[in-house]
């Protein structure tokens, strides 16, 4: 995910500034601006858009290509399931904290099916908040996540967790299917 490069007149190569102004980041900055003011008026919206464009130009970031289309209904399902999982995670950790038995852990490798960095990041962040796992290491070239799994008494529990993680990835992929895969499916 490298920034769009532009050769200037004197021969130096710099990231193109105008590409830094992206609608998504401007919308996000505008939301933050409105939240900070705690009010929505036309004047605030205009000021917020100006500020957002200024911030994007002064502090340019490489453009983020989602590389996937959005299916709203499965996405809602993912979000609801995620909320339930966060609550379950807290209960599980509370149980582990309060009992006397010493805890056994595992480090599990999960090979993700996806090729996209964005999906990998999303799945890794979600896995950090749902029961049992913290991401220890990410191997970007093979899209492998190494997860530290809490409270696994034996190897079969570790395998069960690997299936949970892959299920989560499948759900995310259904909600945000990559564009290329979609085109493949249509061509078939």
């Amino acid at each position: 995910m490298s920034p769009v490069m532009r050769t200037r007149r004197d021969g130096t190569v710099r990231p193109a500034r105008h590409r830094a102004v992206q609608p998504l980041s401007v919308a996000w900055l505008l939301l933050v601006w409105l939240a900070l003011w705690g009010d929505v008026t036309p004047f605030l919206i205009v000021g917020g858009v100006l500020c957002a464009v200024l911030v994007s130009v002064v502090f340019p970031l490489p453009p983020i290509d989602l590389g996937s289309r959005i299916h709203p209904l499965p996405l809602l399902g993912v979000v609801v399931r995620f909320a339930v999982d966060v609550v379950r995670a807290s209960v599980q950790v509370a149980g582990v904290v309060l009992r006397r038995r010493p805890v056994r852990n595992a480090v599990v490798a999960v090979d993700l099916e996806t090729e996209s960095d964005f999906i990998t990041t999303l799945v890794a962040s979600m896995l950090s908040l749902i029961p049992g796992s913290v991401v220890v290491e990410v191997r970007r070239s093979t899209h492998t996540l190494y997860l530290h799994v809490l409270d696994t008494p034996d190897a079969s529990a570790a395998d069960a967790f690997r299936r949970t993680a892959l299920d989560l990835e499948q759900r995310v992929l259904r909600a945000l299917p990559p564009r290329a895969a979609e085109a493949d499916r249509r061509a078939r």
């Binding site: 939240a35 705690g38 480090v107 990410v138 190494y146 008494p153």
Partner: protein, 121 residues
């Protein structure tokens, strides 16, 4: 019971639950045997505790201008906790400071050595 009293009751329940979760998180950070398990305690109950306390405060204040700010706090807390826990976990694993006797399976150390090209995240 008017709806303000109901909202106050819900706020009280949320705030109490959130405080209990924050307490559990700190007990976990104190009691867990090694750093990686401590991080579980530091990420999960703590995030849910923050969410609950913010919900409680929003229900108590009942001011639409404030909800945006509280939602922003929750989103930032979720995003930053994940990043911080990943960085700390990676640093601890790379420096070899892991209690191997607590691990049932360790596929990161047992797997074939793999050199990642420099600059990869």
């Amino acid at each position: 019971m008017s709806w303000t009293a109901a909202a106050d009751l819900a706020a009280a329940v949320c705030i109490l639950l959130g405080a209990v979760l924050a307490l559990l998180a700190s007990i976990g950070v104190l009691r867990m045997p090694d750093l990686l398990s401590r991080m579980h305690a530091a990420t999960k109950p703590q995030v849910l505790g923050t969410v609950l306390v913010m919900t409680g405060v929003a229900l108590r204040l009942r001011d639409p201008g404030v909800v945006g700010l509280l939602a922003l706090v929750v989103v930032l807390q979720m995003a930053t906790t994940v990043v911080a826990s990943h960085m700390v976990g990676r640093a601890s694993f790379r420096s070899g400071q892991v209690r191997r006797d607590l691990l049932v399976v360790d596929e990161l150390s047992d797997g074939p050595a793999h050199e990642e090209p420099r600059g990869a995240p």
